[in-house]
Amino acid sequence: MSHCEPPSAARSVGPDVLHVALVGSPNAGKTTLFNSLTGMHAKTANYPGVTVTRREAIASFGDLEVMVVDLPGTYGLSAISPDEQIVADSLAGTIEGVSRPDALVMVADASTLERSLLFVAELLRLGLPACLVVTMIDEVAARGGAIDVDRLSTAIGIPVVGVIGHRGVGLDAVKSLLSDPAAWSRPVMVPPAEAAARSAWVRSVLSVAYRPPGADNRTRRIDAVLLHPVIGVLVFSVVMLAFFQAIFTLAAPLADRLDSLFGWFAGGVRDRVPGWFGEMLADGAVAGVGGVLVFLPQIILLFLILTLLEKVGYLSRAAFLADRLMGRFGMEGRSFVAMLSSFACAIPGILSARTIPSERRRIATMMAAPLMTCSARLPVFTLLISGFVPDRSVLGPIRSQGLVLLGLYVLGAVSGLAYAGILSVTALSGPAAPVVMELPPYRRPTLMAVLRQTWEGAWSFVRKAGTIILGSSLLLWVLLNVPSSTPPEGLTEARQASYQLEHSAAGTVGKALEPVFAPLGFEWRTNVALIGSLAAREVFVTTLALTTANADDASLPDRLQELRNDDGTPVYDAATVAALLVFFVYALQCMSTVAVLRRETNSWKWPAIAFTSMFALAYVGALVARLVVDVVT
């Protein structure tokens, strides 16, 4: 039946630092413990070859220097996601360049001990020196339960410490344990491997050391409302709408202020740094960085709200309510959050897809994310709609311009769902992992934890988007200014700039692309602006401003309206504008999104599919839009 393990001493690594891993299920309080043990010294890195992040820090406990590693949360060693595979591989020591842990700190939530000990049993079979930290013991006590930590320690055969994470209770005992893992007691026998036998072992161990807590009435009462088929769905809709609204209205004023700040800063740089270098810094670097950072208020707000919702426990309820709908399109409840985040920016949306264990559904979610109308498209839509859609009242207070904007959002969202659905029956078809979500009790999160996670999210966005956007902005500047040409005499300064643009590398490409985009009604100025949008979508607007610069100080929409082809027809007529709008709904121009897709899927295949298929969709969609508008007007 089971095997016995002779007691043996822990092996500590000589002059090297001892490697201790924290392992346990999600929601067990592992990260809180990790932060308490290591302070702010954690550094995040990637495991080789995958996108799972690794948090580790070196800390001293007593005389011992220990590298503490926070492994991703998992329910067992038979992995169903890359995160979980990392845990299994780490513990087996099969990750290249990363040593097997020398000791394990298993972390379990006191209120789910009856399940958590199953995982503990599995881990004990690895034969590594191990101790158990039971978290949230206050919750169990508050509900009338009790855990005899010493008796539990004797029963399992390893040191056990009870902690209250957010209050630091028990932390000293854990630190004291970590100062000498070699002295940790070992079980006389490892628990059995087979599921039913393991379950029996857990039952026996708990029978001597545990009185189960009563029901969690607070969670029960709240869920009676939040999971109610009518009220719950209503609350869900309100929460999601409020989330959506907050990101746009609350963050907008701050974003505007940041925008002008960067404009001022760019001007200053241009004045102080001479020549083309100054211009490159101003228009390339500062503008580029500014382009990213202008989104920062939105991104921070996005992560703040998401973190709050997650830590309180509501996100799993939201995923539960949304699962059926998402499932119809080859995704799952957790994808809903990714989709919603993508309305601010696809990058945090794609990153949040990491919580989806099933690879197929995760990829479907990530591929659909860029089709959600991100906020970078908004300047483009705003420009075109305000310039070309007549402001009429359609139904009382509902005006035509708002309706068109809403229509574009709906088009993006519906297309995204359909796209994921199609992928899941074609390229992504096949069996997928089970969808099992744990609904943790409602908890009041600590401010520090919320702020920390918000900061980590925002910073990851800045790192990922920032580098690409900065790089592409600089590249774009080069393309727009090289080769430099001398404009003919007598042109105004604005016209000169336009001339130079026309003869730059980007301008040449723009003209060369005219045959390709002519069916859509785009001419070289639009094409150059489209090239610009590869850096970041909103750059379309600024590039268009440059390519259409002329004598008047007219606003950009007016200038666009006045633009004429050689034969006198307007460049921007209704059909072209419609085509351009639809083109932007679908095209995946954002290079940083492509880069993040590549990182998260660990291959070029998916970003390539996304880029080409969305370009095709954009082209065809734009064509259809042209035809429809031509027929209608």
Partner: protein, 186 residues
């Protein structure tokens, strides 16, 4: 503080776990189920006496509701731990009489216990189930603490009867009279 069976479940196999004691030559087995309530402290002769691989076991005793096993030297556990554990689990599965001594107070009512009383326990425990399926479990013998059951009607030859006997009848009997062991007529 702790209830005998805090985790409601319907498991059949014995739930035991092994613990170290202060003496490295002694290992204790705690048994959540079947419960060892009512079993008196003292040495025991487990049914495996005579098995060659377990011959080295020095002593088996019941102490405070747990089973305590001693080997001559701590190192012996390296060989014996697995076999002793497996043998114990088997022995506990049938909750055999080896856990009790004739001098145990529980045996005091042995003489007074009647087959009818035992039948009543069986009927209360399993009557609803067997009746619903059109079968019967009858107490046909009670001798020296061994209850002999006969299965009839739908129960005879039914493959789930063993299940019912193990999970319903035996525990009910043991709660009332811990020293009883059950034998099913074939």
């Amino acid at each position: 503080m702790l209830s005998p069976d805090p985790t409601p479940s319907a498991e059949v196999a014995p739930a035991v776990h092994a613990e170290r004691t202060d003496d490295p030559a002694v290992v204790r087995w705690v048994c959540a189920s079947p419960s060892l309530d009512g079993v008196v402290d003292g040495r025991r002769q487990p049914p495996w006496v005579g098995a060659s691989d377990l011959a080295a076991v020095a002593e088996v005793a019941v102490v405070a509701g747990t089973i305590v096993v001693r080997v001559p030297a701590a190192d012996d556990w390296q060989q014996l731990l697995g076999p002793v554990h497996n043998a114990l689990v088997d022995a506990l599965r049938t909750r055999a009489r080896w856990l009790f001594e004739p001098s145990d107070p529980q045996f005091s009512d042995l003489g007074a216990l009647t087959a009818e009383a035992v039948q009543r326990i069986v009927d209360t425990a399993a009557g609803a189930i067997t009746g619903a399926h059109g079968g019967n479990i009858t107490v046909v013998g009670l001798h020296d603490g061994v209850v002999t059951l006969r299965l009839s009607g739908a129960c005879h030859g039914c493959r789930f009867t063993d299940d019912t006997v193990q999970r319903v009848v035996e525990p009910a009997l043991w709660r009332a009279h811990p020293y009883l062991s059950v034998h099913v007529e074939r």
